[in-house]
Amino acid sequence: MSEVKVKIKDLSVIYDNGDGVRNIDLDIYESEILTLLGPSGCGKSTILRAIGGFNKLTGGEIIIDGEDISQLPPEKRPTSMVFQSYNLWPHMTVYENLAFGLKLRKISSKEIESEINKVLKLLKMEGFEDKYPAQLSGGQQQRIAIGRSVLLKPAVLLLDEPFSALDAKIRHQMREELKRIQSELNISVVFVTHDQEEAISISHRIVVMDKGKIAQVGTPTEIYEEPVNPYVASFIGEMNFIDEGDKFLAFRPEEVEIVTNDSGEYPATIEHIMLYGHYSQVLLRGRHNMIRAFVPKTNMVDIEEHMKVSFNVTKIREYEKEI
């Protein structure tokens, strides 16, 4: 995870209507999963498509393995992309879909066959060669699309919300599949999602984006523990904020410790308790606003609704207000 695979330098992609991304600097390392995370319209796909060669750069450059590829068309780039849907060609069988890129590279049909068999094994989809895409489930189609990309041994695999059209259960399976495939092949992956849970579960590093700019880059833990601003803090996980006039105090629900007397730092009243199995969510009415707390099951015995309590915070973050 040390060597830089893809270097994005001062990248701008600006559409005719003025939307787009500006001045993006980003390094993607060898064999890491890097996730671009942010709300809809923040420019994740724009960056990904710029790497893949589908968006013209307005400025800056993209360097892969030391070579500037900014001006190359998609077919000449060492990248491969999987889209959210409609990846496969419906008039070709699974085998033909997988073989297409290899055939263009003039690889012998014997070698193509053995490569495809290897990939189908990796995807756990042996026996699907002669099926047409319409005969596959959504999850299987996406797996074949990923297989088609990795067959070409790209320097970097680009995935644009590949699982967001799938239902929740399959989506979870596919995340694990992707992690397994990535670690087996040891390739660099750039993954786009607007789902923070997905980003945290899948990534080595996360890039949180805000309106065409990078807000923060870091490991999931860094981003969860030390968000650089209230935007990142509220985007990832749950965060309580207390307005202190010139600054915000921020802490996570699991960082709240309720005490049943008034010895805690902040006074509060218990508004509502909701049991979630191994922990409970407790809503506290604080001095200014509602505070959310997660309390382990074992600590739940001595509190009840409408009780006057106080609480301490085990970890607190301070953000200056921007004027």
């Binding site: 077919e75 889209f83 849907s85 008039h91 297409f100 890129g101 590279r105 088609r148 990309s149 070409l152």
Partner: protein, 287 residues
Amino acid sequence: MKNSLNERRIYLFKYLNLKRFYYAVGKKGFIEFIISIIFLLFFYAPLINAGMLAFANQYFYPDILPGEWGFKWWEFILGRDNLIQSIFNSFLIASLVTIVSLLICIPAAYALARFDFKFKESIMFSYLLTNAFPKMGLYVSIAIIFYKFNLMGSYLGVIIIHVINSIMYMVWLPMGAFRSIHKQQEEAARDVGATPLQTFFNISLPMAIPGIAVSSIFTFLGSMDESQGTLLVGFPQVKTMATEMYAIIMDFPITAGAVFSLLLIIPSLIIIFIFRKYITADAIQIK
């Protein structure tokens, strides 16, 4: 015994009652039923009539049934010298027209479906416009140009006329077919290493084949059927089945026309049969 038969009869008649039928299938179903009956009558009544007249040796106008049945006019039509030549000409011209029209219109359809360029709207509009003109006026003005280039009475001239006629559906239908291909599917092809041209021939074209097949069939049958322009530009050198039809209707009794019209239907039936799997509501984007 008699009673129960009567009862059964009443029972049956109950369901022939229009009012009952109306409530059984609902308002929408009823209207659809009426419309399809009218449609069927419009389509098939003349056809059945022609089928009947073709086997009449003698027929006088207000009668419904012919005076005398027989194959007299079949012998007459099949015995005409021009018949084989005109069938051959029709097929030759229709095939060439379809090929030329494909070569011109498919790239145009793709460009209109995928690229943005200046005057795109006005080009699309002009397609509609050429079809809104009275055809004869268009043919006459084309004929004036053809005189200059010595194209009158030539096969080339007739082919050009037919191609012009075909542009409308040869562009619109395939354009719709190309539009319905998802952009990702073409981008995925570029992504795995296909040039734009390879993408077109391996991905876009095969995926649009149903729409292209239907419009090619329309073009082929339209060319077989075309007589106005063929007569104006091709007369008297170029004889097709359609122009022969004119000659026969003018010069011989209606029964001869009936025989010939049945003959004219045969190629259409063959082609529709061969390509039946492509002629679906899906291919022409109804639904």
